[in-house]
């Protein structure tokens, strides 16, 4: 499926989703991800560019396939179940050309897929929010769509339920291997569901990569900050592919480049990405840097420290739950882990002005 629209909400986006793949569109609200999804469904018109499903151009110059002919399934935020129809009738709604027995068989099949085999005769309002969302998924899958679209499918659920339904949906999507586009503003959701994730901002794709690639090799400081928690420390490029910072030398994968394409040299200012779990906190006397514990959040599986460096800046660290360093105690911190990413210093500001 190719995509290159030019509508106001989305500009110069070009994405291709492989058959059977799940692609997540991740971005803050207003970044254009929902517009993109609705354009694929044919619910929004395109002014420029084209959308292709399989071999068919469904939107594009001189081409327009009506939504009901696109073989696109969509799950809405609110589920959008028809309140006057039973669960089974909802699921059967899109199965029009089938014989009655065939329809019943298919309804049973998809309802079992979402683990709601016994709920066919119920009315939607008697179901919990999570069950409603699963029925909505079953309904959109019943006609075997070429593409499945999920629009913030879990945002209406409360936190505990969201985690559970998310895992369930992830399992189903993998099981049936339907080509899927899912829109979300929740990073965990994008990572759990997406084989690949497109991070969007202001109508553009900032980066398209696997969850692992996004987390470990973000394209720019904005993506680094949007995907996961991050410390962005400034320092100077040192010898031997590292950046010297207030917490000591930090190894980097490659020397950052300038806007003109040349690489930074030793001594140039640079911003380096340090994930909280890459900060080791040790009792005074061993490591390289000196800091004070300014805040402790005990999470059980780990501890999140807010550390005040001697130069006044703050670093976030995630450490194993023991030992516990109490608030106010002096510690020494250093970088640990594989080489990370660095950019020319000041790039954050540049990006913000361009957006």
């Amino acid at each position: 499926m190719g995509y290159a629209p030019g509508i106001d909400a989305v500009r110069e986006v070009s994405l291709a989703v492989a058959p059977g793949e799940t692609l997540a569109l991740l971005g803050p609200s207003g970044c254009g991800k929902t517009s993109l999804l609705r354009a694929v469904a044919g619910l929004e018109p395109l002014r420029q560019g084209s959308i292709t499903i399989g071999a068919v151009v469904v939107s594009g110059p001189g081409a327009w396939v009506r939504p009901e002919r696109r073989r696109v399934g969509m799950v809405f935020q609110d589920g959008a179940l028809f309140p006057h129809l039973t669960v089974a009738a909802n699921v059967a709604f899109g199965l029009r050309s089938h014989a009655r027995s065939e329809t019943a068989r298919r309804v049973d099949e998809v309802l079992s897929l979402v683990d709601l085999a016994d709920y066919g005769e119920r009315l939607p309002r008697t179901l919990s929010g999570g069950q409603q969302q699963r029925v909505a998924l079953a309904r959109s899958l019943a006609p075997s769509p070429a593409v499945l679209l999920l629009d913030e499918p879990f945002s209406a659920l409360d936190a505990a339920l969201r985690v559970q339904v998310r895992s369930e949906v992830s399992r189903i999507l993998r099981q049936i291997a339907v080509t899927t586009l899912v829109v979300t503003h929740d990073q965990t959701e994008a990572f759990v569901l997406g084989d690949r994730v497109a991070v969007m901002r202001n109508g553009r794709v900032e980066q398209l990569d696997t969850p692992d690639g996004l987390y470990r090799r973000p394209a720019n400081p904005w993506v680094a900050g949007f995907v996961g928690e991050s410390n962005l420390l400034t320092g100077r490029v040192g010898p031997g592919r590292c950046v010297t910072t207030a917490i000591g030398p930090v190894p980097i994968e490659a020397l950052p480049s300038r806007p003109d394409g040349t690489r930074l040299a030793v001594g140039d200012a640079a911003t380096v990405l340090i994930r909280p779990e890459q900060v080791s906190v040790e009792p005074v006397g061993v490591g390289a840097g000196t800091a004070t514990v300014a805040g402790v959040e005990y999470h059980g599986h780990d501890i999140r420290y807010r550390l005040q460096l001697d130069d006044g800046s703050t670093v976030i660290a995630r450490c194993p739950p023991e030992p516990v360093h109490p608030r106010g105690s002096p510690v020494q911190i250093r970088f640990q882990g594989p080489a990370t990413m660095a950019w020319q210093d000041g790039l954050v500001g540049t990006l913000d002005r361009s957006g």
């Binding site: 044919g42 939504p67 809405f76 935020q77 609110d78 309140p83 899109g94």
Partner: protein
């Protein structure tokens, strides 16, 4: 006394306190009073001695005409109301904001005033007569019969369908339409399978309401000379009691049937608005060339329901005032009487149903449901039947005799007939004092009466006033009961208008009609439309 307890989830579900005996008795009494007139008429009719065969022969025709007219009018109102609702909420009809106001306005014309406006308009010198003359068509000599009744009543009742159905239409979530389209359904199939089920209950209920309205209508059918049951009741009430009571009983039974049907419809699972529904602004359907016929339909309806009646009334009124034939001072007495009886009825109605509201909201005890049914019965039974019954009761009960031919009896009839309109707002008023607030005030203010004055009443007032306002609006426009029960020499605006038209004093009637329409429009705007359109 409400004992404040430990932090309990009381604020979620108000704790139900068993109703004390006084409240139960009051509820029972209120229910009885409201149900009494209908029961009395039925009992009186059942006691009629054997002459049922000639009576049936006599009433068969009027019954058939009543049903014929009611069916025609309610179907027309359903179709016109739904079509307009759809045009105004789901399409890009040009000028739809203006149409939205204009097309609701016929609601403010009482149908007997509307009928009178058409008759006066077609009379020589009337606005329709002049217009038809000008284009060379011979104006019809009379405006009478089924066709006339159908036109007038349809033109002034379709807003009863338009308002609820458009409110309903605008709550269909966009995602439901989108889902249906993506599941392979065309726009038309989506309309039939998703939109229609969504509006079905409110369409059916409002159509039945129009049916009931037409069934109870007296003024318009009297003016256009169409012999329905109400007209039989009115015409024979003094000369032929058995016929009058027979017809009234038939009306009461028919009304009860309609109301039972409506309750069954409401009992069915209503498609409800989902709180979690994303507020995707619905995209309007583009009419294209169809905007021209759509605009023509709106213009036609507005012409029949608003422009012609107002122009007709206005022309006669202007003529009367200009020639000095109409003495505006003559309107002062009817206007004052209208104000006095209406305000009294409104206040009394709000107070009368308050115990029922209290019992059903705070105590939810089963008797409250029965009492509420009695109140609903008073609304369902035509005002004419209530009036007939009250007149009979006072005339034949020695102790109550002096109430016959008193304004007090008229107020009682209004309260019985329109009390239901105050019940909903009264219940809302009860709910507007949350349990935690009640408990907090009990801790801070030991005196029960001061508590009511300082906490309960200020919170309840807006809803109580709204309920009273709805009753006021209905009583100002009421005709049949007023005609039957007004003391000699006592006339309200409605009866003054009605008699003036019957006697052909169009100019005088025009002025009074415009005054009534203005009052009704102001009340309707304040109480119904402002909430409905902004909410």
């Amino acid at each position: 006394m409400v004992a404040p307890t430990q932090a309990s989830p009381a604020w979620r579900t108000p704790r139900l306190i068993p109703a004390h005996l006084g409240l139960r008795l009051t509820c029972a009494l209120v229910g009885l009073v409201f149900a009494a007139p209908a029961v009395l008429v039925l009992a009186r009719a059942a006691l009629l001695s054997g002459d049922l065969v000639p009576l049936a022969r006599q009433l068969g025709g009027p019954l058939w005409r009543s049903i014929q007219l009611s069916v025609l009018v309610s179907f027309t109102a359903a179709i016109v109301g739904t079509l307009l609702a759809w045009l105004l909420t789901r399409t890009d009809l040009p000028g739809r904001r203006t149409w939205r106001v204009l097309l609701v306005l016929p609601l403010v014309l009482p149908s007997f005033v509307g009928a009178a406006a058409f008759i006066a308009g077609l009379a020589p010198g009337g606005v329709l007569h002049l217009a038809l003359d000008a284009v060379g068509i011979t104006p019809p000599r009379r405006f009478r019969g089924l066709g006339a009744g159908w036109l007038v009543l349809s033109a002034f009742t379709y807003p009863y369908v338009l308002l609820p159905v458009s409110a309903r239409l605008s709550t269909v979530p966009q995602s439901l339409h989108d889902s249906a389209r993506l599941l392979g359904h065309s726009p038309w199939s989506t309309f039939v399978r998703v939109t229609v089920p969504h509006i079905r209950a409110s369409l059916a209920a409002s159509t039945l309401l129009v049916f009931l309205y037409t069934l109870s209508e007296l003024g318009a059918v009297q003016l256009v000379g169409y012999d329905t049951l109400t007209r039989v009741v009115y015409a024979s009430r003094l000369v032929d009691r058995p016929t009058s009571f027979g017809a009234a009983a038939l009306l009461a039974v028919a009304a009860a049937g309609v109301v039972l049907g409506e309750r069954r419809l409401r009992g069915r699972p209503q498609v409800r608005q989902d709180d979690r529904t994303a507020l995707v602004p619905g995209r309007l359907i583009s009419l294209g060339w169809a905007a021209v016929p759509a605009t023509a339909v709106c213009a036609l309806v507005a012409t029949v329901g608003l422009l012609v009646p107002l122009a007709s009334l206005g022309l006669w009124a202007q003529r009367g005032i200009a020639s000095g034939r109409v003495d505006l001072g003559q309107l002062i007495d009817p206007a004052r009487s209208t104000a006095v009886v209406s305000v009294a009825a409104a206040a009394l109605a709000v107070i009368a149903v308050l115990p029922v509201a209290l019992a059903s909201v705070r105590h939810r005890h089963p008797g409250a449901g029965l009492a509420a049914l009695g109140v609903a019965g008073g609304f369902a039974v035509p005002g004419l039947v209530i009036a007939l019954s009250l007149a009979y009761l006072t005339l034949n009960t020695p102790l109550l005799g002096r109430f016959y031919q008193s304004a007090g009896l008229l107020v009682v009839a209004y309260v019985v007939h329109f009390g239901l309109q105050a019940l909903g707002p009264d219940e809302q008023a009860e709910r507007s004092v949350p349990q935690p607030v009640r408990e907090a005030s009990a801790l801070l203010e030991p005196s029960r009466w001061r508590r009511i004055a300082r906490v309960d009443l200020p919170l309840m007032t807006p809803n109580l006033v709204a309920g009273g306002g709805l009753v006021l609006l209905s009583t100002v426009k009421e005709l049949p009961a007023t005609l039957l029960l007004s003391p000699i020499g006592f006339s309200t605006l409605a009866t003054a208008i009605f008699h003036a038209y019957e006697d052909g004093f169009y100019a005088e009637a025009g002025v009074a009609s415009l005054l009534l329409v203005a009052v009704s429009a102001a009340l309707t705007w304040l109480l119904v439309l402002r909430r409905g359109l902004t909410g």
